[in-house]
Symmetry: C2
Subunit: 632 residues, 2 copies
């Protein structure tokens, strides 16, 4: 389909926005009036620039407070419209968005509104232009698509049609602010549907205008069902642009080239979802993006940690104390392979990077298909330096820069393991660890929503477990993306507000969590082997005992083993942590019981404070458990 984006979605000058849209592969743009007004370029130059970039100008917007006006206002409104039509001629755009009036002096008279829009359409038609009338969710009188359609019908002019915007429609359907039926859009004749604007949004209980102006998202980043909505629109016969109109405070200040790619990815994923709708599949002549389906993911092949001269040996000692065996060395790079159960960790001391999770490798049923899909969804491919006899690992960059590898560990010949000279074998899991449960990645402030869409679209993971909690140094937002069966879990977290210089612990820690079948056995064994485990304050266990009627023996074991605890309606979560290596890496051991599928977010502030206490010059280190290099 024709993919467009409103310039208001992106940051920068009009030139920045147009260039970014074109670079991301958009076919057209909506020119947001304020962007044009502030631009140093004439309409003719904007037109030439767009043409040179291969961008059509699909819409000029918005034209406000037109209909339902008293006669004197109407005269002024028509004069204002004529000026804008002249400008549109110069720009080479034939459709203008007229949004329903919010002016306090608007007259509540549908016949008058219809008549005035008819007049406006008549003026537009003389220049070969069209009026796309849109109900704002907060319009003074017209605030549902049904109402705007009724007025368009009464206005009865070939140059008068409807613009539907998923936010305005679904925000009202969603919050019960007004009776509206998105599915009913399918009954509008296609030739009367002039324009389609798409935006997603998180569910928020707030003033709808503020919700719209600050919190819209690209499709797939929020809670709206845009595939169903768009299917209803396509059922009318509408074949115009799929055009994004997203007002978002973060995107407004993010790098526009990057936001434009994020936006394009959202449309490709939406088109793919449309292709799965039976109503759409039966229709001819709808060109939709059809990326390769996401192959099944069955777990983590490995996780790679970049380490430096200090953290590398410390991490190696910690892994050994946790029961990992150092079983291999990379053929051409300074990379160690450690294994325990099915958990494999690479320690890479070859880069310039500070200690961090540098790569995640997922086990995929079809690495090549995973790579093709990633490419189709605009994931940046990473070049790999490759030695002889080394596997051609395909990797893409996640929004936070983490490398994502697609692997099939068992595959003959091409397996990634053949890159390693095996020098040992994994032990018998003396500490009960079985596999990697999840990887937790701190997201840069600007890319949290981009990351959600990336993992959802590129890897086929589902966003779950949204959380927000008051950490000791500021509010933190969390979200997990998981393979449906929970075999690949990535926990994303980031600050709700970008932090200032004062904040300690920047960059935010990342961690690797390993699953165990017996949390207390793991803790005791690791402690006995000298693992540098994090100690938790007694206050935490006193509160746990006050809040929950736990078995006193279990509570005592938790206190002894410094295990944190959470439960929900379906299960329980036990977890403990190591100290931090380098600036930001720690390890976690978790045990899930019942159907618990969360990440113990409720305990994160306690864990963060405990990490801080260990690292702070004023923190008490006396209660620390025996640490590396010490006998237990």
């Amino acid at each position: 389909m024709h993919r467009a984006i409103a310039t208001v979605c992106l940051s920068g000058t009009l030139e920045d926005k147009l260039n970014a849209a074109a670079a991301a592969g958009f076919n057209g743009v909506e020119i947001f009036e304020n962007d044009f007004i502030a631009a140093p370029w004439s309409a003719e130059r904007v037109r030439r620039h767009c043409a040179g970039l291969g961008l059509s100008i699909d819409l000029y917007q918005p034209f406000r407070d037109f209909e339902g006006a008293e006669p004197d206002s109407m005269r002024r409104n028509l004069r204002r419209a004529e000026r804008k039509f002249e400008l549109m001629e110069r720009l080479g755009v034939d459709t203008i968005l007229v949004c329903s009036s919010v002016a306090p002096d608007t007259v509540d008279d549908d016949d008058l509104a219809a008549e005035q829009l008819h007049t406006l359409a008549e003026h537009a038609a003389r220049r070969g232009m069209r009026i796309a009338y849109e109900a704002l969710a907060w319009g003074r009188f017209v605030n549902t698509w049904e109402h705007s359609w009724d007025i368009v019908r009464r206005g009865d002019h070939p140059a008068l049609g409807l613009c539907v915007d998923s936010f305005h429609v679904l925000s009202r359907a969603d919050n019960g602010n007004g009776k509206t039926d998105p599915a009913g859009i399918a009954t509008v004749p296609g030739e009367k549907l002039f324009f389609l604007q798409l935006a997603d949004a998180p569910r928020l209980d707030m003033d709808v205008l503020q919700w719209s102006r600050h919190h819209r998202l690209f499709p797939g980043q929020g809670s709206f069902d845009l595939a169903t909505f768009t299917t209803a629109v396509l059922a009318t016969g509408y074949r115009g642009p799929l055009s994004l109109e997203v007002f978002n405070d973060v995107f407004r200040q993010s790098a526009p080239d990057r936001a434009a790619v994020d936006a394009m990815r959202s449309l490709i994923a939406l088109e793919e979802a449309l292709g799965r709708q039976p109503e759409v599949r039966q229709r001819e002549r709808i060109e939709l993006a059809r990326p390769a389906p996401a192959p099944e993911l069955s777990g983590f092949a490995f996780t790679e940690l970049a380490v430096d001269a200090d953290s590398g040996p410390r991490l190696a000692r910690a892994l050994a104390a946790m029961g990992f065996a150092h079983i291999g060395e990379h053929r051409s790079k300074p990379v160690q392979l450690w294994q325990l159960g099915d958990a494999r960790i690479l320690l890479n001391s070859g880069g310039e990077q500070a200690t961090a999770v540098s790569a995640i490798a997922v086990e995929t049923a079809d690495p090549a298909a995973s790579a093709r899909r990633a490419e189709a969804l605009l994931a940046p491919a990473l070049p790999r330096a490759r030695g002889p006899a080394e596997a051609d690992l395909t990797a893409v960059a996640a929004p936070d820069g983490t490398e994502i590898f697609f692997c099939r560990t068992g595959a003959e010949g091409t397996g990634w393991l053949s890159d390693f000279i095996l020098t040992g074998t994994a032990s018998d899991a003396p500490t009960a660890v079985t596999h990697i449960d999840h990887v937790a990645l701190a997201q840069p402030f600007d890319y949290f929503d981009e990351a959600t869409l990336f993992y959802r679209a590129v890897l086929g993971l589902d966003p779950r477990h949204d959380s927000e909690f008051a950490a000791p140094f500021g509010l933190v937002r969390g979200r997990a993306v998981t393979e449906p069966a929970g075999r690949v879990r990535i926990a994303l977290h980031g600050t709700v507000l970008r932090r200032g210089d004062w904040a300690p612990g920047v960059p935010d820690p990342q961690h690797l969590a390993m699953a165990t079948g017996d949390i207390f056995a793991s803790a005791r064994a690791m402690r006995a082997r000298g693992a540098p485990l994090l100690s938790i304050p007694d206050n935490y266990y006193d509160d746990l005992g006050a809040r929950l009627e736990l078995d006193p023996e279990v509570l005592a074991a938790m206190r002894e083993c410094q295990v944190l605890y959470d439960r929900d309606g379906v299960g329980e979560y036990y977890h403990f942590h190591t100290e931090v290596f380098g600036d930001r890496i720690f390890l976690e051991i978790v045990q899930r019981a019942g159907g618990y599928s969360g990440y113990g977010a409720v305990n994160a502030p306690v864990r963060m404070t405990a990490h801080r206490a260990v690292r702070s010059p004023t923190g008490e280190a006396s209660r620390r458990l025996p640490s590396e290099g010490q006998a237990p």
Copy 2:
């Protein structure tokens, strides 16, 4: 009065919070349970630490979901309470906050709630403790202070009383969510009012729980009338702590020592406001802070710009082109004095600072009283290097680091002008400029609300003209603080979200605006003299012509002179700008007509884009007006 602060107001570990509260001069704290649970210190150690800092522990909070419980839950709730009472004994705190239940299984039965709270009070009384029951604005059934008071009355136990929190009371009074009458609190017997929590907030149309958890402010930073509220509380005979409980996403991640000073300033200012309430003044035995009243301010004495080797000469040439005369040199520092009409600008090339507004000097009726007031309100005093025969200028630091001087230009002997050797005289204002209209200061992200309170409390300025607009590189928030007659106006602005590395124009520009009586004469004269004025796109004037039915001659003059325009119900605003000097300084010339008291915020995005176009490598400089060093 006894001034307290809840630990939840501040960022950091419990230790950070306690130390910051004590350093700012608080008498006591509320221990927020989560802060204690995460702390490595035992209750006894926290108690000792507080005692050592001179802090009483006034409240332990919160205890949730107690009343209206089924029998089995009640058994567990009492067990939970006993555990907390034990902890409170160890901490040495005798009052616990019990907030109204939000649990979905709460029973709607006031008699039951009263009976259960009576039982809880009985348990507390055995240990000499008290229950302060508070209605959360979003409580399941109890969500007004009246309802909580009714239950406390029915509960009828000497150890059962009320906690009132200004947010929970005023948020409901303000948004019409429920019938409540803050003034009625005055009828509660003082001995039943166990605790007072204070928070301000901006008016926001959103879910009250989210409003409370993220957007509370210290008194004087928001829209609530806390003086009237607190007066009603004091009328009961309540003489307990004035205790701040503010949940704010920005404060949660700001430096705690600084936030604690901001908090203390808010209480001092509130006490001063209480002292002006007739009902309070008539009462004996209320100790209130009484800082010296703010002396009248009558304008700007001068504004000092820090300049570097490049921007200094450019600014000097620009000032000359704008009609300023270089009339003096500082006796001991590399500071030039420039004057035009009553506008005086110092160019200080002696510091390490990048080009910026470094100081503002206000004309005060009593510099010494202004300084005493600033000190009483915790404004950081700045040491001054002083040469012989130099005036002892008193200066304090504003939250953004700008120095604020208190001056009386006409004063005999001690006037700041005597620090300068006068080498010339001001010209006859050939460019019609009369005085400094306002100074616009970019506020660091974390200190916007602190700045509001600082200027309001320290200088006696009123916050006005809140604005929020989509600038080309992100959302910007604005607020002015002004002397009632408009003789001192400071326009504060800052980004709504802290910007990332991508954003251009960081640090955000500041500017100095000079008033003229004839905007077009000023523009033409300055242009003729070669001032480096900023050019505005034609698109802006085309839109102005479309939107407003302006006199074509006036519109033509605006276009010719690159003057921007705004109007409101009472007046008009004309303004034009210079280019940027150094990284962040520009000058503005403004003309106000009628009662217009704003700052043309509607035009800021256009101005910002124009500045960007001049500075950007891809921007068009061809339409720039004749610049410095060029003949017109």
